[in-house]
Amino acid sequence: MNKEINKFLCPYCGDTLDSADALKSHVFKAHKGRSLPGPVGRIRLFINRAEHVFQVEPNWTLYYLIHDKLGLTGAKQFCDRGACGSCTMIVDGKPVLSCMMLAIECDGKSVETVEGIAAEGHPLIESYVNNHAMQCGYCTPGFVVTSKALLDHNPNPSEEEIVEALSGNLCRCSTYPQHPIAVREAAEKMKAAKK
């Protein structure tokens, strides 16, 4: 018989013990009172305010999890190395490139995607449509999410601040001039709604 099969693995710390009794006394001694840990790779995310639990592989990116596994396909992959901004999501209030972040790092974090921003009726959606701040549309969700993160932190951004915030987002159709107009329009609407 393979000797390894006679080993008993501690679910708390990974130590191996020689018998069931030895494991039992090890657990009582070293880990008494603690609840059993979950399996490796299980993460809890608050995606667009709703709690989700996933079992993820260690090499999955946040983009892959949300786009391919969850099926929220708004975030897009334009480049493949954090150069384009099309996969931007808001993680714990900050815009991040979801293709550059491992899903397993996100346990307990909140994630906002373009779908969530649209579902809550954010004025950016309408101002993007009205101002043709899109052409082929592939990079558009990344711009919308980055703009939302900007407005969350700075509800009244100047044109320079908008350009600075969005300068990491690439648009090959080159719709660039329309974005500051759309973001300003959304900011004005939000201001009016507060009054």
Binding site: G74, C79, N130, P141
Partner: protein, 818 residues
């Protein structure tokens, strides 16, 4: 053909191959020409709900990746795929020497020019070519890993990267499987004496100048990478494909596997991350689709193939090449002769010579152009934004060079040489009259408006003469061309009136490339039918069997616009006839018309309401008109209640348009509408950096249909143009032939910070051959603007830099600082 003056079918046929002005324009427009507040695709795109082929996942779908050649020119001698086959998660490894692959001959060709020799070749003619093996696995990562486990014995061959050197006698063959006696593609060699007598032209000149320029490899950078999904439903394929010319792959697919009936092929064209022509001009990416189809058949699961970002860089824009120009001119600015030669790199579609735009646009009496398609060990080059790139680059550099040699204002030189096909403006104006157009001076109108907007008269100066307070040198440049919409081909459209609410659904399959063409077709249909805009809708993504003209960028409105208009007019005629005639006799008699005792010509439609022109109180909404079919659907169930109301026949019309444009050999149509572009820059002579501070685009689009969309092509094209001129270059290692910067960190494209303001001015002379006097705009600006950087730089530093992109290093070199 009916002789009735209002017969819409007769009018449609009359307007085919439009060589004259649109005789039957609407008297008033409600939506055409307006700033339409909502894009038809806007909400889906902004909210992330627009599906692209990259987003498609089907139950049980496998992912396919293909092997890339590590050498620029090599043949596979031996290949061992056993380790790849054993990797867990790998479901199939397709090899180049599979009997079915070997016998699959040419699987596609474009316009009779060129197709793939094999879907999965055994020899590579550029580094990165997809050859040898295709792996289908449960995930993309597994497929990728499996590729790395394939062991190959290669026969390396000599390679060439420079088109001029590759043209020399005795140069190593770059593609011996195809070109056995030199690196030229004979069908790609053009020697066009466009008109005149070259010897005479140069003899008449006061001065003759010769120069050469170079455009290095650059590419489209489509945001969505090439990809496709194949699923077999029995013997019927269902396909999702990123492709701009969706009817081409469908017709190719019908030839595969011994033939598949076109009517069995269901093809989806989801939204697509822009192509700018790109891969869609050639069928190179159909090789992987063919492999996906075969593997899907063998494994019994849907298969998706995906290019990676680097693989998208293995095709480029067809302005790449080395150009040689000789130009003769008189001291008053009259150009007497132009002779241009282009060594064209891997042009898969070298349809024109570099002198074509000078022929189209000017009165220059002697013009010759020569282009030689040379094959080197790099990717194919194809129309990217437009195949006119070499011609407009040549026009800009020739005209601006002549103006500089004479110290003349280039806008004056433009007006002095403006014309068409070697004729002066007097002849051109006669042609306008003959063809029923208004006689306006389009170039002068464009130049006047552009000069005023950029303050040209205050700002233009002698080269290298204006230093700014910030220490940089100021430069300003100008170029121009005609607008174009002259792709030859045909477009089809149909419109159906829905039951229950009477809204109109446009039917036509094409690819959305972002120009909001779909919304614009709705504007035309709404105005023509007399419907509210919200009552006209269009979903182009699903198979409907009517194929739009492609490339649908500059020809959206000039070809498909006609088809929509014809269909709408024929349909409106049908609606009014149905409203006034008893229809569908049953065994219990006919249904009474909605407007009894009325003639169709006494009715009209406005705001989706049919009304009597004689008695406007007699009216009925489209919804009520079709609702008379019955609340339960398209049948008259009111009869159960003992009443007989009405019923209308299914309301549907299809139409089409065909044009040869200026390629018509019998009566080639001269180009009347012009565009003018102005660019202001600052050059830092210490670092060589160029700052583009201001661009003004003036486009005579004949007639504006969708204003925001036109402006989008202006600023979008300008930014892409400046990006190409300043930054973009695919670099190959001369020692290994390997591409060095096939990613978006090392291949720079413009960001939001790279340009100053862009002025967009639209001129409407009504001199386009499209419906309502319009002409295309989609391809034009992004194609014309790149060349404009050279005259702007010349104006700033007094040096011509004839090597695109114009990088800081080249500026410093020109200034003798590097």
């Amino acid at each position: 053909m009916s002789k009735h003056p209002e017969d819409q079918t007769a009018r449609m046929l009359e307007m085919l191959d439009n060589l004259e002005s649109d005789k039957y324009q609407l008297k008033e427009y409600k939506f055409i020409g307006e700033k339409i507040p909502r894009r038809i695709d806007g909400l889906a795109k902004a909210s992330g709900q627009a599906d692209y082929t990259m987003d498609i996942q089907l139950p049980g779908m496998l992912y396919m990746r293909l092997l890339m050649s590590p050498y620029p020119h090599a043949k596979i001698l031996k290949m061992d795929t056993s380790r790849a086959e054993k990797l867990p998660g790998v479901r199939y490894v397709l090899r180049y020497d599979d009997p079915e692959v070997m016998k699959a001959d040419i699987i596609g060709r474009v316009a009779g020019f060129f197709g793939l020799d094999q879907p999965l070749p055994g020899a590579a003619h550029m580094e990165g070519e997809l050859v040898g093996a295709a792996v289908a696995a449960e995930t993309e990562d597994i497929a990728e890993e499996a590729l790395s486990l394939i062991e190959i014995e290669w026969e390396e061959r000599p390679f060439m990267l420079d088109p001029v050197k590759a043209s020399e006698p005795g140069a190593p063959l770059t593609f011996p499987e195809r070109y056995i006696d030199g690196n030229h593609w004979n069908r790609g060699t053009y020697d066009e004496l466009l008109h005149g007598d070259m010897k005479k032209g140069f003899a008449e000149a006061d001065k003759v100048v010769e120069f050469s320029f170079k455009r290095t490899a650059n590419t489209w950078v489509g945001p969505e990478r090439p990809c496709g999904v194949w699923k077999w439903n029995g013997d019927c394929p269902e396909i999702w494909l990123k492709h701009q010319r969706i009817h081409l792959p469908k017709s190719r697919i019908s030839e595969w596997f011994g033939g598949i009936a076109m009517s069995k092929i269901e093809i989806h064209s989801p939204y697509q991350g822009a192509s700018f022509g790109g891969w869609s001009q050639i069928d190179w990416n159909l090789g992987p689709l063919w492999c996906a189809a075969l593997v899907s058949k063998r494994v019994g699961r849907p298969v998706k193939y995906i290019f990676n970002r680097r693989e998208d860089f293995f095709g480029g824009s067809m302005d790449e090449g080395t150009y040689f120009v000789k130009v003769g001119f008189k001291n008053d600015g009259t150009i007497t002769a132009v002779d241009a030669t282009l060594y064209h790199v891997n042009a898969i579609w070298p349809v024109f010579s570099p002198s074509l735009h000078l022929h189209d646009n000017t009165r220059i009496t002697n013009i010759r152009g020569h282009s030689k398609s040379v094959w080197v060990n790099k990717g194919h080059t194809v129309p990217t934004r437009c195949e006119m790139l070499p011609a407009v680059l040549t026009q800009t550099l020739v005209l601006d060079r002549v103006a500089a040699e004479l110290g003349m204002d280039p806008t004056e030189l433009a007006l002095k040489n403006d014309g068409a096909m070697g004729h002066d403006m007097e002849w051109v104006n006669e042609e306008k009259k003959k063809r029923g157009f208004p006689v306006r001076d389009s170039l002068k109108e464009c130049i006047d408006q552009g000069k005023a907007a950029i303050k040209w008269d205050e700002k233009w100066h002698k080269p290298g003469a204006r230093k700014l307070p910030n220490g940089r040198m100021h430069g300003i440049g100008f170029t121009w061309a005609h607008e174009w919409s002259d792709s030859l081909g045909s477009g089809e459209f149909a419109i159906r009136i829905e039951r229950t609410d009477g809204t109109a659904a446009l039917l036509g399959m094409g690819a959305d490339n972002g120009v909001d063409a779909d919304g614009t077709y709705c504007q035309i249909a709404a105005d023509e039918l007399g419907f509210r805009l919200e009552d006209v809708n269009y979903n182009p993504h699903v198979y409907r069997g009517f194929y739009r003209m492609t490339p649908d960028s500059s020809t959206n409105m000039s070809v498909n616009g006609w088809a929509v208009r014809h269909a709408a007019r024929i349909l409106k005629q049908k609606i009014l006839e149905a409203a006034t005639s008893p229809s569908s006799a049953t065994q219990r008699g006919s249904f009474q018309p909605a407007f009894p005792d009325t003639k169709p010509e006494d009715l009209d439609i406005s705001d989706s309401v049919i009304f009597s022109k004689l008695d406007p109180d007699r009216k009925m909404s489209m919804a009520d008109f079709v609702r008379l079919a019955g609340a339960g659907g398209p049948f008259a169930d009111d009869e159960f209640l003992g009443t007989r109301l009405g019923w209308s026949e299914p309301l549907f019309a299809s139409s089409y348009h065909v044009q040869y444009g200026k390629h018509n050999p019998v009566n080639p149509r001269p180009c009347f509408c012009r565009q003018a572009h102005f660019m202001e820059i600052e050059v830092d002579t210490e670092t060589g950096e160029i700052f583009v501070t201001n661009v003004v685009n003036v486009n005579d689009v004949g007639k504006v249909i969708n204003r925001l969309s036109c402006e989008g092509q202006q600023y979008g094209g300008s930014i892409m143009g400046v990006s190409r001129a300043k930054f973009e270059e695919i670099v190959h290692d001369p020692v290994t032939g390997v591409m060095l910067n096939g990613n978006l960190l090392d291949y720079k494209i413009a960001t939001m910070k790279d340009l100053g303001p862009i002025g967009t001015i639209l001129v409407e002379t009504g001199m386009g051959y499209g419906p309502y006097g319009l002409i295309g705009i989609g391809e034009d600006i992004g194609t014309v603007v790149p060349g404009l950087l050279a005259p702007a730089v010349y104006n700033a530093i007094g040096k011509w830099i004839y090597d695109f992109p114009i990088t800081p290093a080249k500026i410093l070199q020109a200034l003798g600082k590097a």
